[in-house]
Symmetry: C2
Subunit: 340 residues, 2 copies
């Protein structure tokens, strides 16, 4: 690998001069030398060694993309279409801004923290935090700024990009109500206190309350994830004596699973069950009937996270940044009108 020293030797100047032309400190180098040096750099495809740079500047330009692993079996979060899309967008945007992204899936907070320290990461973006204690620990103990996507803790300083989840839960439930449904269930992972799921559940309750309807606990499912979870829920629903006519889901995949479970039993979709998904990921346009779902603007989310990250790096004195993004209903074919 060619070094700055060799470039300097070939150009007949000092390494400091080469360094100055690399860093565009035009005031410090004459046009002529700069030109000559640049040519030699081009010729050799010289690229400055980031390890050496980062050693001095304390700025590695590395952003850690932190992907928590949930289950024992979860060999990767990237299987989740939502995560894949988000990670891809964030990586692209970060590159355009001159940052490098290091992928880091982890189970324990210390794994993430160690990687950040090891590489002197300039910052970290966390996707889909779930274990609150782990997330809090990373935010609290990280020397570099962090941006958390999809979760916020009111009681601590942190940067976060969230969704108006309560509105999401509200508009999907409201849509079902408008379509004449009254028996509406709710399906999502565990509804704990701090999560986005809880907010969606609140929105669901709000919408029902407007019609004087109390949520039916028998139709509230939690701790079931993804496609498989949806199929389980669908199976349970199908076996009930008194079934809901519609389900609000916190994830497209859960909605897909419910539909499949019904279809497998020869029941009509959406005739026997209307479902609304969440996120508007690829699967919602893949299946038939296509999913009516709550769309979040993934691109904007990625842009917000990246801009927030960069702002946090450049203005470390600011301690908190919060953005809440809007959501919107996308009507497709998984909801049918109920004639009351």
């Amino acid at each position: 690998m060619i070094t700055i020293k060799e470039i300097a030797a070939e150009a007949g100047v000092s390494v400091m001069t080469v360094s100055n032309v690399i860093n565009n400190k035009t005031s410090k180098v004459s046009k002529k030398t700069a030109e000559r040096v640049r040519e030699i750099i081009e010729k050799h495809h010289y690229e400055p060694n980031m390890a050496a740079r980062s050693l001095i500047s304390k700025a590695s330009h590395i952003i850690a993309l932190l992907l928590p692993l949930w289950h024992e079996t979860a060999d990767s979060l990237l299987l989740d279409p939502y995560v894949g899309q988000l990670v891809g967008l964030v990586e692209t945007l970060l590159r355009e801004k001159g940052y490098y992204v290091m992928l880091c899936s982890f189970k324990e907070a210390d794994q993430a923290l160690t990687l950040m320290r090891t590489w002197q990461a300039d910052g970290a973006i966390m996707v889909i935090p779930h274990e609150d204690e782990i997330t809090r620990r990373i935010v609290r103990r990280s020397a570099a700024p962090t941006v958390v996507i999809d979760r916020v803790y009111e009681d601590m300083e942190m940067n976060s990009v969230c969704l108006n989840d309560q509105k999401g839960g509200y508009i999907s439930t409201k849509h079902l109500l408008d379509m004449g449904h009254r028996d509406i269930g709710f399906a999502g992972p565990t509804i704990d206190d701090s999560s986005v799921i809880h907010d969606r559940y609140l929105g669901y309750c709000d919408a029902l309350a407007e019609q004087g309807i109390a949520p039916n606990r028998a139709w509230t499912f939690d701790a079931y994830f993804h496609q498989e979870g949806g199929e389980i829920i669908g199976g349970l629903l199908a076996g009930m004596q008194r079934r809901p006519t519609a389900m609000v889901c916190t994830e497209d995949l859960i909605a897909c699973g419910i539909l499949r479970a019904y279809q497998a039993r020869g029941m009509r979709t959406p005739g026997d069950i209307s479902v609304v998904g969440f996120d508007d990921t690829l699967p919602s346009r893949l299946i038939s009937p296509a999913l009516t779902t709550v769309k979040q603007d993934m691109y904007r989310k990625a842009v917000c996270a990246v801009e927030m990250m960069i702002d946090a790096i450049e203005n470390p004195e600011k301690k908190q940044r919060h953005v809440m993004l809007d959501v919107a209903l996308v009507e497709r074919d998984s909801v049918c009108r109920l004639n009351g």
Copy 2:
């Protein structure tokens, strides 16, 4: 950030001793000092600075995960469920082996090469190469070893992990023939000479030839990708006077698209069109009818790629490594028996 120097000071030893205990050179440090130093390291959560290490050792332990971007619009390859899964698996395996993974999407070969040089990456794994010239350039010019997934060039030295694509094309076509189909089309991206698609097409032709059937060019589609491509193909098929009864697809998403196009027109699936997908990705189990598809063992593919990468790093004298993985048909519900 605490440094080796401060650890040394606190322990009352030289930095060299600390370095030796970090690197487990037990022969060079007495048990007692090692113990004391280790305690202080623990206490401060000290982590060696990789930038400094990589500067000396010439081994960064960074593997670049190279993701070519295809279209103008393609903000990310990770939207593709196949890529997401593969990247996730590779990242996890690489971490377990003590490597760091830097994500790098790129359009030009030089972007990838620059990143590798900049960070002195120990190696690179390329996922889904498509532009042959770009891929060849990276393989040829990279100073560090590369592993290419899903493509191989016979005329140059390279490491590759491939699939038995011809067999894949063969078994899916054979299955359709066994189910009584005779009018079988083929749908995939451009069938160029060096690609996996071409091999699948060959397998398709082989199976047809066994029955004395010549491929019908009117039923051979190329340059259409993903879900959208599938829908276009499905639309074209549906409008034909003489339609095939079955389609061999090079990707699950294309098969999904074809099914949707038929369903949107009120046609029966698989009654009016049987389809076989490829890869056995998430969508194949999401839709209804579930896809019959050619399964590749993604986990084994990731393991192979990672092991090959590490072998290439440790044994740079070996110039070529090739692995061809097997495929198998997974029968689900997207193929119907034709009574002939």
